[in-house]
């Protein structure tokens, strides 16, 4: 049994941590939220140079094909440093969809550009307020063109390529759309997160290229991305715990470190417990992702729910542990508090994943 990242992945993870520390990913996140998103773009090219964008892309298409385990380890670091890079949009979702469902021509056209960081991509599913309902999708494709409005689309302002969920003849499909083409207009929308720019994208008879039809493919892509995002969530939660522990050791009140009070100690112990459970579940999901195991639907849902819960606890109680300071803009606590919500809602909230988990158990996908 070796239920741990392999050594070469751990080495890559340390490199990633170094890079994100040196380039100060948290500061980059702060630039975006303060209205200067350009730094994220520079980092994106550098990340591609280090091979981060090509981990699941075959070598002949410009990637390095190192695999999903490495991608999960990297996701953990990106989450921990609350990076604003469009990795989830471009790679976990769009590159993933291309790798699994793209034609040779589609792969040739887009994957090298994504692997080399020349472009970024976004995943456009939500449609504003109707989005509580997965059965409703107003965006329509007919005669090869798409009309409709998608919002919020994370990383949608900068991306060259969108993967759009739309209906055609009453069936759900995934369509590739070039965003510089005519019939596409974009507008920044304000969200709770702010660390990634979100767009409202209006398609008015925009040309599309069908990637794949059917709800199954959509579910497949989302649950695969959910595994990587669970690692981002666990990483974010760990960063919150680390911040809170460091602060509790240094901050004194009533003549002693606040970390010597049980109210703080037990709060942080509970965070630790939630994070370790989530980490273990994420590991299993990474294995299921990397081996295309039949357990994947249940494993992905378990990892996601557990990571979301740990992140919520860690994000809010990190603010609380920091006291008034934690509530200031100046400290980084709020970056994680904001990001928590974005990661929890991206790909659908808990209700969706609880159903997927229980339905998976009912149909015997895993042995109890």
């Amino acid at each position: 049994m070796n239920f741990d990242f392999p050594d070469e992945v751990k080495a890559m993870q340390i490199q990633a941590d170094d890079y994100l520390t040196q380039t100060n990913a948290r500061a980059a996140a702060r630039h975006v939220i303060e209205g200067a998103p350009s730094a994220a773009r520079r980092d994106w090219a550098e990340m591609a140079q280090m091979g981060w964008t090509g981990l699941i892309i075959p070598e002949h298409l410009g990637g390095n094909d190192i695999g999903y385990i490495a991608q999960c380890a990297l996701a953990y670091e990106l989450g921990r440093h609350v990076s604003p890079a469009p990795m989830a949009s471009s790679i976990y979702l769009v590159a993933e969809a291309l790798v699994r469902y793209g034609s040779d021509a589609q792969k040739q056209k887009w994957l090298p550009a994504l692997a080399e960081g020349r472009i970024s991509a976004c995943f456009a599913e939500a449609e504003g307020l109707s989005q509580g309902r997965g059965d409703l999708c107003a965006a329509q494709v007919a005669n090869g063109v798409l009309s409709g409005v998608k919002k919020p689309v994370p990383d949608g302002m900068d991306a060259e390529l969108a993967l759009v969920v739309a209906q055609e003849d009453g069936e759900t499909g995934l369509y590739l759309v070039e965003l510089q083409a005519s019939g596409v207009t974009r507008q920044v929308v304000q969200t709770i997160e702010g660390i990634r720019e979100h767009a409202a994208i209006t398609f008015d008879k925009a040309e599309v290229d069908l990637l794949v039809r059917g709800q199954t493919a959509l579910t497949d892509i989302k649950q695969r991305a959910a595994v990587c995002i669970a690692f981002e969530q666990v990483g974010g939660a760990q960063a919150c715990l680390d911040m809170a522990v460091a602060f509790a050791k240094e901050r004194f009140a009533f003549g002693r470190a606040i970390g010597s009070f049980q109210a703080i100690k037990h709060k942080l112990a509970d965070m630790f417990v939630a994070i370790e459970l989530a980490r273990s579940n994420a590991y299993f999901a990474a294995w299921a992702l990397s081996t295309d195991a039949r357990e994947l639907p249940v494993a992905a849902a378990t990892a996601r729910l557990s990571a979301g819960k740990a992140y919520w606890l860690a994000a809010k109680e990190n603010v609380q542990t920091h006291g008034g300071l934690g509530f200031t803009w100046e400290l980084d606590c709020h970056l994680y508090y904001r990001r928590h919500k974005a990661l929890k809602l991206l790909l659908g909230g808990n209700r969706v994943w609880e159903n997927r988990l229980i339905d998976g158990l009912k149909s015997g996908l895993v042995e109890l």
Binding site: L129, G132, R133, P152, F254, R256, F327, C333, K341
Partner: protein
């Protein structure tokens, strides 16, 4: 057993309501009004001042103040009744004056002299003079008494150096009540003295603090050799903690104020949201959460009835008054989280066209502050455990130790 007003209370409520109906509209449940909405608008202060004058003229300002200080000489109950009614109306919000009205002046009534009080009372009542509270310091936090701002006697003056934080309204205040340390060789709660500070004194600098929500409702205030005449001292030298506590007791009471969204809003939201499975309000998992939030909301409403019963019988309210802020800040954060989750991926949107102008999303960002200000969750639980349940104090390393010798960091330990 009856929770209707006494005849006098009912009469007071009727009059207050008539006054409000004459001057304002009822606020609809989906107005989306959030914490300090409109406060950042430059014209907000002027609008609030106008409303304050209308209230003062009609006798709804300084309801509990003594008549000799231009107050109404009314009861706390009348004050509560008025506030309950006012809360239902769409009046200019902003909370510019509540420190002066509810905290600063009552402290002066107890610790200052008639001449000084009369200089301020009328202006405060009409919103012409604004006060702030200068207590919290960066090194203090929950350990309120650990403050370091120094007051050194110099002839008839005191010279103040140091820094305060979380000063609400510091930027537009005319006066503040300041507590500073006059003697570091005394134990922490001793060696403190209170003053009235003219905020326009040379050496006072006010800088806004940006909160995690992006708003700036608070300030840091820096003192660089600020002079305060000894005549503006409140209480004796060394009695600063006692003086400060008069005011803080008021604060604990006042902070039980409800911040939106309350249950009404989350219910309204669930009622108007349709999920794949049907109306959100018919989903058993959402029903369970709403029922729990309702139980706490009503629990607080009826707990306030108990407090009002005590007050209307001239009794001191029971220990149940201590639960308000803890309960309310917890359900505020939960409601904000639940309300923004209802929309799945779109729940992140903070656009104006979101239901109730994205009230739940905004509340998600301001709710953490409510678990901190006016006593953290942890401090409030300590207070309940010690003062209500009579459990023994935690071991105190700082008790009876000269302030300068109390450890303040890991190396000093």
């Amino acid at each position: 057993m009856d929770f209707r007003d006494t005849p006098e209370g009912a009469e007071y409520r009727k009059k207050a309501r008539a006054f409000l109906e004459q001057h304002a509209q009822l606020e609809p449940p989906d107005s989306g009004r959030g914490y300090r909405d409109g406060n950042d608008d430059p014209a907000a202060l002027e609008r609030a001042r106008e409303w304050q004058r209308i209230k003062a003229d009609a006798g709804y300002a300084g309801i509990t103040w003594p008549r000799e200080y231009a107050g109404q000489g009314g009861t706390t109950l009348e004050q509560i009744i008025y506030e309950q009614e006012e809360a239902q109306f769409d009046i200019p919000r902003g909370n510019f004056f509540y420190i002066g009205l509810g905290w600063a002046m009552p402290t002066l009534f107890q610790w200052s002299n008639k001449e000084e009080i009369l200089k301020h009372a009328g202006k405060v009542l009409r919103g012409d003079e604004i006060w702030c509270q200068l207590f919290s310091e960066p090194a203090g936090g929950s350990d309120l008494a650990a403050l370091r701002t120094k007051a050194v006697r110099d002839g008839d003056d005191w010279i103040i150096n140091g820094q305060k934080i979380w000063t609400s309204g510091g930027q537009y205040s005319d006066f503040g009540i300041l507590v500073a340390r006059n003697d570091t060789t005394q134990a922490k709660h001793k060696g403190l003295t209170c003053f009235i500070l003219d905020m326009k004194s040379p050496g006072v600098e006010v800088r806004p603090i940006r909160q995690m929500s992006g708003d700036s409702h608070f300030n840091e205030v820096f003192f660089d050799n600020v002079r305060i005449p000894d005549s503006r001292r409140l209480g004796e030298v060394g009695d600063g903690w006692k003086v400060a506590m008069t005011t803080l007791m008021n604060e604990r009471y006042n902070l039980v104020e409800l911040v939106p969204p309350d249950f009404e809003q989350i219910f309204h939201l669930a009622q108007n949201t349709v999920l794949e499975s049907g109306p959100a309000l018919d989903d058993p998992a959402i029903r369970e959460k709403l029922a729990d939030l309702y139980c706490r909301a009503q629990g607080m409403t009826y707990t306030n009835f108990r407090t009002m019963s005590a007050l209307s019988q001239g009794k001191t309210p029971g220990p149940e008054v201590s639960i308000g802020k803890l309960v309310n800040s917890g359900r505020l954060q939960e409601s904000a989280d639940l309300g923004s989750d209802l929309f799945e991926q779109s729940g992140m949107l903070m656009e104006e066209d979101m239901p109730m102008r994205a009230l739940f999303q905004r509340a998600y960002l301001y709710s953490p502050g409510w678990r901190l200000g006016g006593g953290t969750d942890e401090i409030l639980r300590n207070t309940i455990a010690e003062r209500v349940l009579g459990l023994p104090q935690d071991v105190r390393l700082d008790k009876g130790v000269a302030f300068k010798d109390i450890p303040t960091g890991p190396t000093g330990n």
